[in-house]
Symmetry: C2
Subunit: 246 residues, 2 copies
């Protein structure tokens, strides 16, 4: 049985200001819920037909599909919906490649990029403060559980990168050098920009390695790649050079 | 001024059966409309504040933003909405790489893949009959005009590939050989599968080169890449080997 105040709380979490105030976010669907349960994230409440492994009975609320429909943001209500506590930000790892996003706005793109970081073993994803919130329902959904394994930090990018000296700062720009003809390091930041405007001019100033994905289409008509597909191709090439060699 | 029957026709085109009966589809937004106007596609009707270059006055209807709101499938109505005639299918080119989709269902994924084909100079995109319709409003929107430059064909995949002998048929499968350690040809078919189930077992039988994208994430937790990001990484590697060498 789900109380009215619980339904109210859960519906309020579709808004960023309420998520930040409560420090809670929603995960929908059995697959995602299980991935978060087996991570370091702390469960606040689980709603569904029956209790799951790793869940304390005090956090479980039996919910009918009608009740889940009321709480869900999806067209088809999930069998399980869980509320987790937002983790505290942890310091980013000292070594390795880090992906940096400057103003990515589309939740689907951020979710896909989180999944790509997970696939390519990138543990830290550093976002500008105007990048879409990673606890947005659509981002959580699109990340397919990968969010539970990536350290997400929201910072003032300029300040953050300026203070992290002595590592390469790669930025994907149309006028950059062909990534396939550039020796890519296995250390540093790789910056990707906003869907419409790319990397902001201030952030461009801290880039010391401009790179680009060559276009092999005959007529050069396509303006640009989607930011998530550009991230996919770029990360694949960084890892190829690291593991297979240039 | 837009007539009621025009609004009714345009709204009906959000359904595949009506698009197929009328052989018409919708393009929304100035950027997409202009790309289709400068392509070989035939304009049926243009709605907007004023006539555009390349448009015959008989095909132009002045439309207010209120009228455009009624016709549009978007949350924010576009300034221009156009209806184009579906082209007849043209035979696919004899040479080069061809992308083949087996049951891709998500309109955003198909739109992204069309854009990727355009970027990587792949002129033919061959889809199984259960792949989402490329004239679906969301696909047209996500393809960002690239649809006007790609030859789309919907076929019985098994029959089609079996009859196209003597070229490599690549398929992306989890158990395939590492694409970075495989010599990739600049000729043949590359098959990508459905979001949830991958390539169907019947279509798997015609694959003669199983390939896969290596996972460099430390813990191997991510189940799979999204089909559009897998297409991005795979096409980039085919072109890298062709233009830069293995």
């Amino acid at each position: 049985m789900v109380s009215k105040s619980q339904i109210k709380l859960i519906k309020s979490l579709s808004q960023k200001k309420h998520r930040l105030r409560e420090r809670l976010f929603i995960v929908e669907g059995i697959k995602g819920v299980k991935e978060f349960l087996s991570s370091d994230f702390q469960l606040y409440a689980l709603f569904g037909p029956e209790i799951l492994a790793l869940v304390d009975h005090r956090n479980f609320y039996e919910a009918s599909s009608a009740e889940l429909s009321k709480m869900s943001s999806l067209t088809t209500a999930p069998e399980y919906l869980a509320v987790f506590r937002m983790p505290d930000e942890v310091p980013i790892s000292e070594n390795g490649l880090k992906v940096v996003l400057d103003g990515v706005r589309d939740p689907g793109n951020l979710g896909t990029i989180i999944r790509l970081c997970d696939w390519f073993g990138i543990s830290d994803l550093i976002c500008s403060r105007d990048t879409v919130d990673c606890y947005n329902n659509k981002v959580v959904q699109a990340s397919m559980g990968s969010l539970s394994r990536i350290n997400m930090v929201y910072v003032d990018l300029l300040k953050f990168i300026s203070e992290s000296q002595s590592v390469p700062v790669y930025g994907t720009l149309l006028e950059g050098s062909d990534i396939y003809r550039t020796k890519l390091e296995s250390e540093g930041f790789i910056i990707f920009g906003n869907e419409a405007n790319g990397i902001s001019s201030e952030v461009q100033k801290v880039i010391n390695h401009k790179i680009s994905i060559p276009q092999y289409g005959k007529e050069k008509n396509t303006e640009s790649l989607n930011v998530a597909t550009a991230t996919a191709i770029t990360l694949a090439e960084f890892r190829r050079q690291e593991f297979i060699g240039k």
